[in-house]
């Protein structure tokens, strides 16, 4: 089990470095869309929720998991849609400018 934990840590640290490199220079105009877009990505917890709520019989695990599915789906769908709504406005402005 400890090996799994370390493998996970390796993935986590490397992914963090990728994140820092990819995002390091963002113009102020895009701060809000970046935040709401990355926020939608953090809704990836939906996958964990799907995995724990999959059992057939009803029990506490499934109920907690299903609530998590709902919350995370709101996070994902709301986040991506609202980001798109914002970015749409930026696009319009570019055409005009």
């Amino acid at each position: 089990m400890a090996e799994g934990l370390i493998a996970g840590l390796v993935v986590f640290v490397l992914a963090s470095f990728v994140g820092f490199e990819v995002i390091n220079k963002v113009p102020p105009t895009l701060h809000t869309p970046l935040m709401s877009g990355s926020n939608a990505i953090s809704g990836i917890a939906v996958i964990g929720a799907l995995l724990v709520s999959g059992a057939h019989e009803w029990n506490v695990t499934v109920i907690l998991g299903l609530i998590a599915v709902i919350l995370a789906t709101i996070n994902v769908v709301g986040g991506f849609l609202v980001t798109d709504r914002m970015l749409q406005m930026f696009k319009k402005k570019e055409v005009k400018a």
Partner: protein, 468 residues
């Protein structure tokens, strides 16, 4: 056949994670941002579909109902929300993500509790960590939402022994965690730890004032990512770990940018309210002693000053957002340009309640991008500016930040509007800014106050300027 499914799922995760990275990269440039968001959404779709093929998932009906409910609510929220309310929206979504991660860890704990096998030490550690980060994100975000939505007061709330209480809770949490590692199947202790995490989230945000909200929102954004990562450790799922790490990194970067814009360290932002309480009392006393007067004008005079100026710099703030005045502001700028006035916008990095808040609003009103100027670009120009028009901004133009060491905002870089020939401040009343600080700009000789809601006043200004 069944052997291929797990491999297929892992490969789909790889594709999804790559799409997230590409999407975030494209979100960094205005030209590609929209496509980047779509790429990330496709990645999410792939990840969800792949997960549904997992053998652990048997109960499709309820899951699909859950997804349908979530999608419906998410769509309605995204369509209905005003651009001005975007900070609350992001805060709320952060909280939901954190809440979901906490619930995943709790659900996994319950599953292990019911099984006959013992709970391994590293499972306990990851579950406790996940509940901690997720819980803080959940209640911290909900409280930030409540402050931004003005359900509760926005000024820092400090009560006696607050710091002591936080420390005590952290200590109890640590002791409880150690106990749980030794007695992993103790449900009461686990629930106690969950409760403490939720309380810590409240204690973390409650002493932080509204002007510091951009920092808090960015930090909570980072936390929501870390919470997802922690849930990934609980389930040993790389997809969650990678995505959470990406979001965590992006949130940290934004937090750093915001702190730099206020010339303060993160610890200073998070903990200064405690020491602030004392110095503020002294500062307030000195203000009250000298009766100061403000000069108030009406929109007609304001319109004359603006219309006959050569250069005008508009400084939008949270007040413009609250009054939804961005379209009226754009119209005023159009009218002034028609008269040959040079109009620019000065955007403070922490204006509003969220990184990039003003940029989004002005983009909604179709203000051309080149007219927006960063603080460093515009500050040297104020000396040559005829009129600085402050619309609902307060703390980011307070000259006290330069010289008053007793002021809570001392040291914060500001837009130096007091150096302009004249300053017009549009404001609802003489109330203090979100940071709860008196603004000496309003009492200066060169400053004129236009009282009223930003939208009403600016609309009135537009019609007056039209008659010039």
């Amino acid at each position: 056949m069944t052997d291929f499914v797990p491999a297929g799922i892992q490969l789909s995760y790889l594709v999804a994670a790559s799409l997230f990275i590409l999407g975030l990269k494209e979100l960094g440039s205005p030209a590609t941002a929209r496509r980047g968001n779509v790429l990330a959404a496709i990645g999410m779709f792939i990840a969800i579909v792949a997960t549904l093929l997992d053998q652990q998932v048997l109960n499709y009906e309820m899951i699909l109902v859950g997804i349908a409910i979530g999608s419906l609510l998410g769509t309605v929220m995204a369509q209905k929300v005003e651009m001005t309310a975007m900070p609350q929206m992001v805060g709320l979504l952060n909280g939901l993500g954190g809440g979901a991660s906490t619930l995943v860890a709790m659900a996994e704990f319950w599953r292990l509790l019911g099984s006959s096998e013992p709970i391994a030490i590293d499972s306990t550690i990851t579950m406790v960590l996940s509940v901690l980060i997720g819980g803080i994100t959940l209640t911290g975000s909900l409280l930030a939402f409540a402050k931004l939505q003005e359900l509760i007061g926005g000024s820092p709330i400090v009560f006696p022994l607050q710091r002591f209480l936080s420390f005590a809770l952290v200590i109890v949490f640590l002791i409880g965690s150690v106990y749980l590692v030794m007695q992993p199947k103790d449900l009461t202790v686990f629930l106690g730890l969950t409760g403490i995490s939720l309380m810590l989230g409240v204690l973390f945000v409650i002493p932080i004032g509204g002007a510091d909200m951009p920092v808090v929102i960015s930090l909570l954004n980072s936390f929501s990512g870390l919470a997802a990562s922690a849930a990934g450790f609980v389930l040993m799922n790389n997809m969650l770990i990678i995505s959470g790490a990406l979001v965590g990194a992006s949130g940290i970067i934004l937090t750093q940018i915001m702190c730099k814009a206020m010339n303060r360290s993160l610890t200073n932002v998070l903990f200064s309210a405690f020491s602030k309480a004392k110095t503020k009392a002294g500062a307030r006393a000195s203000v009250d002693q000298t009766e100061k007067t403000v000069k108030s004008i009406d929109p007609e005079e304001g319109a004359m000053m603006l219309g006959y100026a050569r250069s005008v710099v508009i400084i939008p703030g949270y007040g413009m957002a609250v009054a939804q005045a961005q379209h009226a502001v754009r119209e005023l700028a159009d009218q002034l340009e028609r008269l040959g006035v040079d109009v620019k916008y000065a955007i403070h990095p922490v204006a509003g309640r969220m990184p990039g808040h003003m940029n989004v609003l002005l983009a909604e009103a179709n203000v051309p991008y080149p007219q927006l100027h960063d603080m460093d670009d515009i500050n040297p120009e104020f000396e040559r500016t005829d009129v600085a028009l402050v619309i609902g901004a307060n703390d980011v133009v307070n000259p006290a930040a330069r010289h008053d060491t007793g002021s809570p905002i001392y040291g914060m870089p500001i837009l130096e509007v007091d150096k302009a020939q004249h300053t017009i401040v549009i404001k609802r009343g003489m109330s203090k800014g979100f940071a709860g600080v008196e603004n000496e700009l309003f009492y200066k000789d060169k400053t004129m106050m236009l009282f009223g809601s930003a939208r009403d006043v600016v609309t009135e200004l537009v019609s007056q300027v039209k008659q010039l």
